[in-house]
């Protein structure tokens, strides 16, 4: 008799578990005949689930999303996603477009490097979280309404959380930059990314039902009529036809480095940088060579000097806006002797700011750039 062996665990599971088991084909058939049909169905459902992409989705989620949204989707730098009321009110397209397009200027970046299949795997993983109603595709049909009346209702009912111009709440979610008792950051409803992802039906559903687990309440229960809600939806949709708001602006600059040539010797220039730092009300932290810590003490190259300083008030202000700005810290000016030139340099905060995709940092980065420009100018004056 020919005997077959089959593996009852699929490859994806096999990689995770060493419990791969071999069974005899003829024994399996005999056994299966003894199992009630419903149990077979249940068994096949379990096997099918194990064969689905959640494993890949979970891996992709861990790599791309969990740093901000938390391993279990309960939020962090990013907003919480594991809210059944949220996941039940959006369709897969909303999630896909959000992953693809992000929210310009509102921290969530674009994941254009992922393939369509990878994006779908992440969505599949989000859909595996418990408590949500099965997603239904939402009709893209626009909802007609009176935008003027919608504007009035928005100002009265929505602006307190979402901002006067629907620009959203401040901060970056529920991490160290905000108190933990804040359950969610009010989304920017005027954001091009949100408007591309959200259908009118989705916005209306949220207004009608509210979002359990967030401050968003049902507007029907608050006394608004369906026509009123349609008017608010029309008002929000109208933002799609206006110039993108300042809150969606990401700074850009061509120059990664600010550079000045000094007419002084390197030692003189370092002294002038120290004076300029003090004049900028910054505290001098330390002066070191670029290679300090890399080479034995006494072997450092003193033609490459870094002056570190900090304005602690400014630092705390920036960290409140976005805890990730530590990448810029501490402030530093570099003085380098290169050939017969002495160069004074710093990073360009405007150029770097777009990495964070946080428009609330724009003013701070522009201010920091000005501080650097002043220090460099004074150092070579």
């Amino acid at each position: 008799m020919i005997r077959f062996s089959i593996q009852i665990f699929p490859q994806s599971v096999k990689r995770q578990s060493a419990r791969t088991k071999l069974i005899d084909f003829d024994e399996t058939v005999t056994s299966l005949l003894r199992i009630p049909p419903l149990l077979i169905l249940a068994l096949s459902a379990v096997l099918a689930r194990a064969d689905d992409p959640p494993t890949e989705g979970a891996q992709l989620y861990a790599r791309n999303c969990s740093a901000c949204h938390g391993s279990d989707g309960h939020g962090g730098v990013g907003v919480p996603l594991a809210l059944p009321a949220f996941l039940s009110s959006v369709d897969d397209k909303y999630l896909r477009v959000t992953i693809r397009r992000g929210r310009p200027g509102r921290v969530m970046p674009t994941f254009s490097q992922l393939t369509d299949r990878e994006v779908q795997s992440i969505v599949h993983h989000l859909r595996s979280w418990p408590g949500q109603a099965p997603p239904k595709p939402q009709s893209p049909t626009p909802i007609a309404g009176n935008t003027r009346h919608g504007k009035i209702l928005f100002a009265r009912n929505c602006a307190v959380c979402h901002g006067a111009q629907a620009e959203g709440g401040h901060g970056t979610g529920v991490t160290m930059s905000r108190p933990r008792n804040a359950p969610i950051l009010a989304p920017a409803l005027n954001n091009p990314g949100f408007l591309a992802a959200a259908s009118d039906v989705m916005i209306k559903t949220t207004l009608v039902r509210g979002r359990e687990g967030t401050p968003m309440r049902s507007f029907l229960k608050q006394g608004l009529k369906e026509n009123d809600i349609n008017d608010i939806v029309a008002y929000i949709r109208a933002f799609a036809h206006t110039t993108p708001p300042a809150s969606a602006k990401v700074l850009d600059s061509e120059t990664p480095t600010l550079v000045r040539e000094s007419p002084y010797t390197l030692e003189e220039t370092v002294e002038k940088v120290k004076t300029a730092v003090a004049a900028a009300n910054m505290r001098l932290i330390r002066i070191q060579t670029l290679d300090q810590g890399f080479v034995p003490e006494g072997k450092e190259d003193h033609d490459q000097v870094i002056v570190y300083s900090c304005d602690f008030g400014f630092l705390n202000e920036a960290l409140k806006v976005d805890p990730r700005v530590g990448l810029f810290l501490p402030c530093r000016v570099t003085v380098v002797k290169h050939g017969d030139k002495v160069l004074v340099m710093s990073v360009n905060p405007e150029r770097l700011s777009r990495i964070f995709n946080n428009s609330e940092l724009n003013d701070l980065c522009e201010k920091m750039q000005q501080v650097y420009e002043n220090i460099l100018d004074e150092s070579v004056m």
Binding site: A62, N64, A67, C68, G70, S71, G76, V77, R101, G102, P104, P109, T110, F111, S112, Q113, T175, M176, P179, R180, T243, P244, A248, K249, V250, D252, E254, P256, T257, L290, D291, Q292, G293, F294, V295, D301, Q304, F312, L315, N316, L319, K320, P323, R324, G326, L327, L329, P330, R332, T334, V336, H338, L343, M345, R351, L352, R354, I355, F356, N357
Partner: protein, 149 residues
Amino acid sequence: MRQVFAVTLLLLGLSPSTRADELMMARISRPFPEAMNSLQEVIREHGYTVSRVQRVDVGLTSSGFQTAEYRVVFFGKPDEIHSLSDRYPELIPYLPLNIVIFAEGDDTLVLTTNPHKLADFFDKPALHAQFSQWEKDVRAIFDEIASRP
């Protein structure tokens, strides 16, 4: 070409979108002190030297933050630092590489600018292989500390 594209976007009133891979981030499901040790250990295992760990915790909790566990880890390879800074002084403000690490509840977050982003800043083909190597190494470092039990 990139400039033309940027100008076109500006004329259209659009901000160029920020790609997720410009910033590399990872969540470590371990408390800050353990994660901090792992980070330095893994950096060294990849052949880099940790040149300094900068504390950034002055006044954090008194300013209302949840944690004071916030550091910047500077690292690099001495020979690379020397040769690159000699040949490309404009790169020095971005050297050595750094990783920010801070506590978030019982977890710890690490993040850094994707070193390959420097290729956008410094359009010198000779440097691209170096930036790619750094990206590969940092990604491996993040993967490793995130997956350690």
